[in-house]
Symmetry: C2
Subunit: 654 residues, 2 copies
């Protein structure tokens, strides 16, 4: 790919982005779309009064201003701690890549361009002249690259440390902020042993009143076939009928982050579990033997309520039985966070499910090499002309720039849309009992998938095509050398990827096309009164991953092919504004992980840094600058030590 | 190496072993050596009355009978739970290798011998004819190998499961057996924050009486420069003078496994810490400001005593501070188990020490390739003749069988003797606060070292010499193929290693040459009254490792070169008798890990099994028996699943 292809891609993406932004600024003012763009405000009972005037149809940038002016307290009030942490990740990226952009554009880029390393080589593409590949062997200017690497690593570690400290502080403050969270008083018990003489409920009651007599209050067994959900929904409907107020509006304005404990009876007092019985008594089961009916539906899982947070914590961290697969305890999730259907999965099966999911993930990753190779085939279409002569006609056409520049990253982005839902399904199958841990687990899976399948496999398959299958890796050292040689060559593809997946992705995030069109169809075509759009939770597993993937791209390319950095910086700045807007207006907070996404971001950043340093070290070696190469070794060691220190210092709090 | 060399080695080792056993049966009856061979009895205050008669100088096998007749209760009484677990590992090895020997000798060995795979090859050595290398390609008899592999794996997993269950039960019984262990009521606190206004002791007192008012009793700060040890030794001397009874005799007969709590004031009541102050008051410090003196010597570590085991456990598992590197708590070791000098290591430095030790271990492992290659050079001396012509003279001599057969494994065994002390030093530097965890950590290190440096590097360096440096590994698949090809070829070397390190090693263990000669020099030459021999603790880190290494050899060679199995079985049977004798007579129990060596044995066995299966699968593939090769895949998966199941089922108890 060369400059015209890159420019085509940039043009396409800038055009799409500007168009979408303009469209958004108009659409958001239409009353029809208020549920699409202001889901959270609706949920909080706040409404907007818009009059039919000219301003409604004029594009404006007022939302950008509002997003910019919002304080961290506003974000916390609208999106909870996870949203704040996510925006801290974006801010961290902006800071570090601003530093990197300045350093690399004014120091590394000119050195690369005037490096004269490709003087002897025929027909170097313009893009290659800007990479480290153009620095000639043994050049003394490689010291500048090494210095830049040191500065960037030092800044990244410093910023990481302060952010980690900040997030850890916020996380501990959460405990003080919500002293009466029901989850802090409740323990989930799984693997209750089966007994022929008594029901699970009786077993649980006996066990805990025997061993924790002073702190145990009561318990609630979980029922199969969604009995609990059914009861909850019934109660909710009754409540709705009686008050004729939308359910979402019952959540108080300022406590939106704190789930409403009274709604499902997990408040730690006995009242919750009694209320279930009352409803049972008055239902159609009344004349039958309700106990027998219920006993059949009992799962081997229960929620147990304790008098104090300390008691619940102690119970949750103690092994209760000589067989550690019986009476397994852990702190319960918040009421709205519980993923009921997984509570009924027998605890014995969990490890098998986890292993199956692990294997399935690997198989899926391997299968995904096919679309990746296809995408790289599009980028390197000129290399395929010998094998497939019919492609020669294509490459003469005027739209070749579109095919090699814009299409590949579009195809990849489209293929990648199936990944997050699939990983979410995997995480569900793993048997997580809370929605928040399920989402976090999906996030880990998507992250590893993206790092492997977008980054490494694109680099490797791209070079495999360039060399027409003659890619033999004969030792780990070869692999590292190969990476060092290939990463700079893939820079232009990743630049287009940043634009397509990053810039255009942001506009899609902003515009919410699926709910928008769905809402429009529902209201204007089908003429239904029900809402198509329900308030959504923020999909951290896709967005955190995307930001971290761009971080990886930024770090690894920063000194090898610095031209990618301005594109990334633009992405991060827009991401900051767009996500702030979305978090404050669109998404609804149902559950939180108390900032545990930061650990992922930290690990991903450290991984990116060390990869960068290793690749740079090898490249310096290949350029015969052995001192610069040796100088990266202490840097790698220091980064690894810093990581271990942070693990010791902060991780126990997460 | 061929049959004569192997026979030379066998002859040497059998001769040495029989001689040593005879010598031992005489030496153990001499009153001079009673402290060498009956250290434990002396420690328990029991003595033997031997008269000067003919029987004292006649070899006898009575000790074998006694060792055989001892029950598990006897072992438990003499050696504690760790000794029982160690002997369970030996018994497990005897059982599984008895099955393997029967199957392989009567099924696999004849098939290998009549396999006709080496018909076309010139001059196959007799040893090679007995390995799987002699089965011709595509032979249907490979099914028998596959079947044997299945039977051995199934038996190993079944036996492992029951042993794990057994050990886990013993471990939980320990808690009931010793309800008043001081360690269960005591918590070690490290990383006490420094304060300019109060001493560490005051900080600890304030902290725990503030947060754990109901359960906290008192605390004892740890002092630098061995102040505590000094005080203890003073107290011990005083006690000795006053009672004129040997200190060791104060340990009651049946409670030898239960450290005597009163001796160092960790009994959970305040008395312990008060007694220190009394001694201080009466010492030479009396006229100075004792408090200032002591405060300077305070470490940032303390022992805190609680009212109940539950309270201590809860405190030990709770994060005490928002900075997890301050107020770090863990359950204290038993009084005799505490490694005092490491308690004074600042907690902040521990992670750096651990990383340094990790790096040092890797460096040492790499350096150890030199002696390994030298050893393999001795075995393959005929391959080196081209490069070093002067060796040709050597290979014509009559002692060539000694050089290729006996010498290599002797040299390796001698080099390996420096490994356990070095790893123990590494574990000390890591900053473990108890002797038992230090020894267990050393055991892990030695185990990994042995598996890597004795097993893999011998196999690889051996083949490197055979091919005169033309050993290129070009992919992970190549490495596996290489292993599958090379492992059978190293069988004869490992047979001699089993004899030298195993058989002769056992006789050395029995004879205890160093204490024996030392004791003799001290008593008869230097005419000293003091004892040279002090009661020793059993060195689990060398012996567990040796048994597990032989297990690895047994599993990986069982279907490839089954001739090694009888040698191993003889070793394990003798090991059973010798170790029982030594545990009951020689070693003294100072501290225990409550059976945590079993987890090591389990992991090592699973590793050996899976390695065996992988290598066998590849070999079947190389022999063009693709069905047999495919059949090993479910076996590998089942073994891995079994391991995960055991981890879930039993590991939380350890």
């Amino acid at each position: 790919m060369d400059i015209p292809a890159l420019l085509t891609s940039a043009g396409m993406n800038i055009g799409i982005s500007v168009g979408m932004f303009t469209l958004y600024s108009i659409l958001r003012k239409q009353p029809l779309n208020v549920k699409v763009y202001f889901g959270q405000r609706i949920a909080q009972g706040r409404t907007r009064n818009e009059n039919l005037c000219f301003e409604r149809f004029a594009p404006s940038a007022s939302w950008i201003l509002k997003a910019w002016q919002a304080t961290e307290e506003d974000i916390f009030a609208s999106g909870g701690i996870d949203a704040v942490v996510f925006l801290r990740i974006v801010v961290f990226s902006i800071r570090i890549f601003a530093i990197a952009t300045i350093l690399c554009t004014f120091l590394v880029l000119p050195l690369n361009y005037f490096g004269e390393g490709m003087v002897g080589i025929e027909d170097p593409t313009a893009m290659d002249l800007l990479t480290i590949g153009n620095v000639r062997e043994g050049s003394r200017w490689l010291w500048a690259h090494c210095f830049t690497l040191y500065v960037i690593s030092a800044c990244a570690c410093t910023l990481l440390y302060f952010e980690y400290e900040n997030v850890a502080r916020m996380r501990t403050e959460q405990v003080q902020r919500f002293p009466t969270r029901p989850s802090n008083f409740t323990v989930v018990v799984r693997g209750i042993p089966w007994s022929s003489i008594e029901s699970y409920s009786e077993s649980v009651g006996k066990f805990f009143s025997n061993y924790y007599a002073s702190s145990y209050i009561s318990h609630q067994i979980v029922y199969r076939f969604g009995a609990v959900q059914q009861l909850m929904e019934d109660a909710e409907k009754m409540y709705k009928v009686m008050t004729t107020v939308p359910v979402m509006a019952t959540i108080p304005d300022k406590q939106c982050c704190e789930p409403n404990a009274e709604r499902c009876g997990l408040c730690g007092a006995g009242a919750g579990s009694n209320s279930f019985k009352k409803i049972d008594g008055g239902s159609t089961f009344a004349n039958r033997n309700v106990n027998d009916e219920l006993r059949e539906k009992e799962c081997e899982a229960a929620l147990v309520f304790f008098r104090s947070r300390f008691d619940a914590l102690v119970v949750s961290q103690t092994i209760q039985s000589a067989d550690p697969m019986l009476w397994v305890t852990e702190l319960a999730p918040e009421p709205l966070d519980v993923f009921w259907q997984n509570l009924c999965v027998p605890y014995n099966l969990l490890w098998i499910r986890k292993i199956s999911v692990f294997i399935a993930s690997i198989v899926f990753s391997v299968l995904f090499l096919l679309p990746t190779t296809f995408v790289q085939g599009l980028t390197k279409i000129q290399y395929l002309q010998n094998a497939f002569p019919f492609l020669r006609r294509v490459s003469d056409r005027s739209y070749i720039n579109l095919i090699t520049g814009y299409l590949p990253s579009l195809v990849l982005t489209v293929f990648l849309t199936i990944v997050p839902p699939l990983m979410m399904l995997f995480s569900t199958l793993e048997g997580r009992v809370s929605r928040s841990t399920r989402k976090r687990s999906a996030c880990v899976k998507v992250l590893i998938f993206m790092f492997w399948n977008v980054y490494f496999s694109n680099i490797l398959s791209g070079s495999w095509i360039e060399r027409m299958g003659k890619l033999t890796v004969t030792s780990p050292k070869d692999l590292a050398t190969l990476l060092a040689e290939l990463i700079p060559r893939q820079a232009s593809f990743f630049m287009t990827y940043v634009m397509t997946s990053g810039w255009s992705g942001l506009t899609f995030e902003l515009l919410q096309p699926v709910p928008l069109v769905g809402n429009w169809l529902f209201k204007c075509v089908l003429m239904k009164e029900d809402d198509f759009v329900r308030p959504m939770t923020f999909s951290f597993h896709t967005e955190v991953t995307r930001v971290l993937l761009f971080g990886l791209l930024g770090f690894t390319f920063c000194i090898l092919a610095p031209l990618i950095l301005p594109f990334l910086l633009v992405y991060f700045c827009f991401a900051f504004l767009v996500y702030r807007n979305q978090i404050m207006n669109v998404y609804y907070v149902k559950y939180q992980t108390d900032g545990s996404y930061w650990t992922l971001a930290h690990n991903a950043t450290i991984f990116s840094l060390i990869l960068t340093q290793v690749v740079a070290g090898i490249l310096f070696g290949m350029k015969k600058s052995s001192t610069a190469s040796t100088c990266t070794i202490p840097l790698i060691i220091c980064t690894a030590l810093f990581n271990v220190f942070c693990k010791n210092r902060f991780l126990p709090l997460f």
